[in-house]
């Protein structure tokens, strides 16, 4: 059976993609940002921990989705996803290969579990998805994992609540563990940490809050699922709201977790860089309360 082995949290700051693509990752400015990924790069390619598939939770930054269609949760079920041209040509990184079998399995399971997911069969992927791949795998000919993109709306208000994100993670865990193939699956939450890219308040950074957030991802606590949007906005800047996506990752890891690795660095461009590698201690998630099959009538119909 497939199972979620680990979760990773990671900022997806575009300039880190630029620094990597232009050989500047050794520069004084970028070196400490990249150095915090050395541990992860070794760990993630080791035979025991290397994943077969990554469910990569990210947001599109006006690249694949314009204002015509705004899905709250969109799951990429296609065969492959091409890096987007965000205004200065596409990043020179490999095409992202999907895992349609598992992606469709998750998408279908989520709908039965009463998540109103949008299925996407063709889309381009921007720095939100490709920068974390670069941070984890560096310069490669071919990404060493299959990737299921899970795009979350955190641009047009309201984004999904923290509680909804956490619950989605729990549902993803249930879906993965009912997939018959033996697969090691990681789930990554990306974006954040504190940053604001707009207005007179731009440049806001909140190290204390960010580090409390990292603390809150480990152990048994579920306080983070109740942090309201307005707190992210006030405390971590208007773009800090991206951190709700880390809660999908955390929710998928179950009852309790421990951190294997943690990294925090300020500044990278306008943003606080955060990164954490989490392992489930007790991966239990609550059973679905809502699965169609859970109703007595449905049970009777199922032989």
């Amino acid at each position: 059976m497939a199972r979620i082995t680990h979760g990773i949290g990671c900022s997806h700051i575009p300039v880190l993609g630029y620094a990597h693509d232009h050989g500047k990752d050794g520069d004084d400015y970028f070196k400490p940002a990249f150095a915090g990924f050395d541990w992860t790069r070794e760990w993630i390619t080791a035979p025991d921990s290397r994943p077969d598939v990554v469910i990569l939770v990210y947001n599109d930054h006006a690249s694949a989705f314009d204002m015509k269609v705004i899905p709250t949760f969109a799951i990429g079920c296609g065969e492959s996803f091409t890096p987007a041209d965000e205004g200065f040509g596409p990043r020179p990184v490999p095409v992202v290969e999907g895992h349609p079998d598992l992606a469709w399995h998750i998408a279908q399971s989520l709908v039965l579990d009463e998540f109103d997911t949008t299925i996407i069969n063709e889309m381009e992927v921007d720095h939100g998805l490709t920068v974390p791949l670069t941070m984890m795998f560096g310069d490669v000919e071919k990404w060493p994992v299959k990737v299921i993109p899970l795009a979350v709306n955190v641009v047009t208000y309201p984004p999904p609540s923290g509680n909804r994100c956490w619950a989605l993670g729990e549902a993803i865990s249930r879906a993965v563990s009912s997939f018959p193939q033996d697969l090691k699956v990681q789930i990554w939450g990306t974006g954040g940490m504190s940053h604001q890219l707009q207005g007179p308040r731009a440049g806001l950074i909140n190290k204390e809050w960010d580090n409390r957030f990292l603390d809150g991802l480990t152990g048994e606590g579920q306080d983070l699922r109740h942090v309201p949007h307005i707190e992210y906005l006030r405390e971590t800047g208007s773009e800090g709201i991206e951190m709700v996506m880390w809660l999908i990752m955390r929710g998928a890891l179950g009852k309790s977790t421990r951190a294997l690795h943690r990294h925090y660095h300020v500044p990278v461009s306008n943003t606080a860089l955060g990164h954490i590698v989490l392992e489930p201690v007790d991966p239990t998630v609550p059973p679905s309360r809502t699965l169609e099959g859970g109703s007595p009538i449905a049970q009777k119909m199922i032989a």
Binding site: P14, V15, H61, A62, S63, D66, M67, A84, D85, E86, G87, F88, G89, V155, T156, Y157, P158, S194, Q196, L197, Q198, G199, P200, R201, A202, G203, L204, I205, N206, K207, W209, H229, I230, L233, R234, E235, T236, S238, E239, V266, P267, S269, N270, A272
Partner: protein, 136 residues
């Protein structure tokens, strides 16, 4: 308690943050064509046409004159006020060949150097920047 939990209260709170325009439905509607126009600059052929004659290019979009002027002037704070969203407007940064830091700094009243120095020193503190009404 229940009365205070609807979308209207939620939205009112979003307006209480100093120096910040949260991209609510109201702004999304006002800035619809402005943002769609900015996003069109993802295509190299559109970037070329835009650079060749900015005014002619943006006249193809049903924007207000105010939005057009702010876009030509690269007045990003005004663009935010008129419904622009930073991720869409960032396509203009790219087209102009400036970095996100440079573009963002123009909204803060600081020079790029001052802004970068602030970031190197750990960024802008949230103290006093959390709430207009609480002034904290």
């Amino acid at each position: 308690m229940r009365e205070a939990t609807d979308i209207a209260t939620y939205l009112a709170d979003l307006e209480d943050i100093p120096g910040t325009q949260v991209f609510t439905a109201q702004r999304a509607r006002q800035g619809y064509h402005l943002n769609q126009c900015a996003m069109s600059l993802m295509k190299p052929e559109n970037r070329e046409r835009f650079k060749a004659d900015e005014r002619a290019y943006i006249d193809e979009w049903p924007m207000s004159e105010e939005q057009k002027e702010a876009l030509l002037a690269r007045d990003y704070n005004r663009l935010l006020n008129l419904g622009g969203n930073i991720y869409f407007l960032a396509k203009v940064f790219s087209t102009d060949g400036i970095s996100v830091v440079q573009g963002v700094s123009t909204m803060t009243g600081m020079s790029v150097e001052e802004y970068q120095a602030m970031m190197m020193a750990g960024g802008r503190s949230p103290v006093g920047q959390r709430s207009i009404r609480e002034n904290n």
